[in-house]
Symmetry: C2
Subunit: 63 residues, 2 copies
């Protein structure tokens, strides 16, 4: 499967905020994440990098 | 594998702009796409939706 781990990067530190993520949907200043189980999180951040083969997505918090 | 097809949506029409995409990297108003073969395209657009399981990424052109 192709789910990804989503990290938030802030002040040079990366933190896992959601695993098994299947969709990302930017909405203005926020990003709606949905995982394999239908759980959702709405995060105030921007997309920094999406690595589909590495299964990693990096978001950047606004300071 | 988890590569995706990237579409650009403009005026309600969707157009394939790159296949076998492995990374997306937003850079200001642009997005750098890289495919499995190392080919790159720099597109002026915003990310509309990333569907990791459906292997589809939708970008939106600025009007």
């Amino acid at each position: 499967m192709c789910e990804a781990i989503v990290f938030v990067v802030k002040d040079g530190e990366k933190e896992v905020i959601m695993e098994n993520v299947v969709t990302l949907h930017p909405e203005g200043e926020k990003i709606l994440l949905t995982d394999l189980f239908g759980e959702q999180r709405l995060i105030t951040a921007k997309i920094e990098r999406v690595d589909l083969v590495g299964h990693e997505i990096f978001l950047r918090k606004q300071d």
